[in-house]
Subunit: 418 residues, 2 copies
């Protein structure tokens, strides 16, 4: 599985898929390792949640663990990986694709929020929601999952995570922060902020982020140290870096305690839209961008399908808990962002599992697959028919069908049944 | 280096040493890996200390990290290692030797303290000091050092740590706890404790210790699961266990903040005696016990010298921070135990480094070694002569020599010079 170059990319998406479907190569991802990886991540998150719920670790004590994770373990991990990063292996078209996808989703969320939101807080909403939809939990949750999926097939994909994360942090987050600062400036109009002041605050905020800071330090050291960590230091850095995974997931669980209680009915729609943007629009745009850009720039690449699948998986990664920290810093939209973070984290697990399984379908043997798919679609249609009949019955019995929106829905449902 | 059996143990210690000195085998320990390992441990401890000193993590926040380390990461590490432990590899004579050595030091410290201490708190002092002198920081500090020294030569030594630690916790600590309970019972004479009540409290205290608890659970699972962790769970347990090392050392550094300030002049002598017992008596007794017991029971063992050296290194491990937790629980002798823990941790690093280097000397080529030793001893004698002259000059000039104790010391120094 170490050399997956035993098939050649021909041209365009469909041909490649068909070729692969009949070819004897195994799946691009190690799907059987995904379940233990998801269990690892969500098991440790659950441990943290239980520890927080049972008051073994109070909210203030949790900050100690959070500081250790974000200020020591994560910088060590980033430094180590930036120094040993092999820039020769990187397919830059992939990075461009993910970047374009992130910018697209960012602008989309930003513009929609600015159009819809009430004028008194629309800038902060636009900024924070756009950050919410684009910044993913790359290191604590993303890395072990990519590791499980691609360690044995495409180990070079692991380092893309380290390259994509800072780009998002350095290009998109500043725009979001700037929008929040504009909001604050409008609310506190007695403060004489000018646009230069906002710029300064934003740049400072970005550089204070330990991820951005350590990636810059790491890239400088990459060239200064000649792509390897001095042997005297390597044990020290490994010691800190190895402790990141478990501690970060545990801390993620701790931060989730009591967040869903903050959820109100008003924020429901916003939340659903945001989570859709993060977990559905983002992965699809990522995948399509790779399909478009990778063909244009780098059409001789042998592992194009696998790359676009990886972009999809990358897109599904849930929102990072640091977004909740930003929301807390500006004291704006805290309840939407925190509960959204929790919900997107738990929704991402089944989406990732099902989508990773679906993405390997084109690589399976076609004839049993067709039978399997017909079987599955028959089952799904029966379940949805029962669901539809049940819903229509409830609507008719509760006599809400004569209200206007419910009438539309009822007609839609009846059309579905037939 | 994987098969160190290319020399045969002959009989007795000296012959074996001489044989090895001329033999072409490398040293038993990878001494060049010790320095990075020590740097790793003390570097991370220093990071924790700096974080605590700079108030990045307050004392109450540190408890969150401590709870994560002791209640989640360490149990996972112990469970994993007890399940995969290979009992067939274990040289039981080594475990007996270390146990006898620990009991010896425990009884020695206990009896001496009971004889010397004032009657109003001698039981608690005896109990806590004896625990202090025998319980070592096996997992956070000991494991990475043994790993660095023996990973490539005797990897089976690593699992001895997991076997020795619970023995000490289950046999010796209860006696210490019982002494503390006796003290508490005498102080609060209105409470009608009987000896059965003390026994119950002590057993509960021991079982509540996460190390003891998880080792018992781990041994049961070892036989129930057939010596391997189910693949579904292994990622989850690895994730938590891997985060132990860095987080535990960082927490150790955090607990050290402000401890040395508690040190008073009265506790100085006690402290020096205790640290001598832990860092000097303990390793020597450990080494001698292996020399005695391993020859008697297991004289065909091929790696006897290496085993007695390992016992010495094991003895030097500093006192565990959990002893400070016990002292806090009984609210007795807190300042001696905490500052002793800090001092013994920092003293253990040079002692370990120098002693590991000295232990490899018998394995070196003899002729350059003799020249080297003469050179070193000449240098040391010059330095000590200068030091002696300086001290005598200071004593004479400060006119303290006519007081009785100083007069004795002066005569001793003059005798040294000649």
């Amino acid at each position: 599985m170490e050399t997956p170059n035993n098939y050649v990319f021909i041209h365009g998406k469909n041909i490649s898929h068909n070729t692969l479907a009949g070819s004897p190569v195994g799946p691009h991802m190690s799907i059987d390792k995904l379940f233990p990886a998801l269990l690892e991540c969500f098991g440790i998150i659950l441990c943290g949640y239980i520890a927080g719920r049972a008051d073994m670790i109070t909210e203030s004590q949790a900050k100690g663990l959070g500081n250790f994770v974000s200020k020591f373990a994560l910088p060590a991990l980033l430094f180590k990986n930036m120094v040993v990063l092999d820039f020769g292996d990187v397919i830059w078209a992939f990075l461009w694709s993910v970047l374009v996808a992130k910018v697209t989703v960012f602008v989309l969320v930003c513009v929609l929020t600015l159009m819809v939101a009430s004028p008194d807080n629309r800038y902060s909403k636009a900024g924070l929601y756009a950050i919410f939809a684009t910044q993913s939990n790359d290191f604590a949750l993303g890395y072990p999952i990519v590791d499980a999926l691609y360690r044995s097939t495409y180990p070079e994909y692991l380092q893309y995570i380290y390259l994509v994360a800072p780009v998002s942090l350095m290009l998109l987050n500043p725009i979001g922060f700037a929008l929040c600062e504009v909001q604050r400036w409008r609310q506190e109009s007695h403060l004489q902020h000018n646009s230069l002041g906002i710029l300064g605050i934003v740049v400072l905020q970005v550089l204070k982020n330990p991820i951005v800071f350590m990636v810059i330090v790491g890239i400088i050291s990459h060239f200064a140290l000649g792509e390897q960590i001095p042997s005297v230091l390597s044990e020290f850095i490994d010691g800190l870096a190895n402790s990141f995974g478990g501690a970060a997931l545990f801390y993620l669980g701790l931060t989730m305690v009591g967040q869903l209680r903050k959820l109100t009915r008003d924020t429901g729609v916003t939340l659903i839209l945001l989570i859709t943007a993060k977990l559905l629009v983002m992965p699809l745009v990522c995948k399509d961008m790779v399909d478009i850009l990778d063909v244009g720039v780098n059409s001789t690449s042998p592992n194009h399908t696998s790359l676009s699948n990886f972009a999809f998986v990358y897109g599904v990664f849930p929102t990072a808990p640091s977004v909740a920290i930003y929301a807390g810093h500006y004291n704006m939209e805290l309840e939407v962002v925190t509960s959204g973070m929790v919900i997107s984290t738990f929704l991402s697990a089944p989406i990732m599992y099902v989508s990773a399984w679906l993405l390997t379908i084109p690589l399976m043997d076609p004839s049993p697959l067709v039978a399997e798919l017909e079987n599955v679609s028959f089952n799904i249609s029966i379940i949805s028919l029962i669901g539809l009949v049940w819903t229509i019955a409830v609507m008719l019995l509760s006599r809400k069908f004569n209200q206007l929106p419910h009438l539309f829905v009822l007609n839609l449902f009846l059309a579905q049944v037939s």
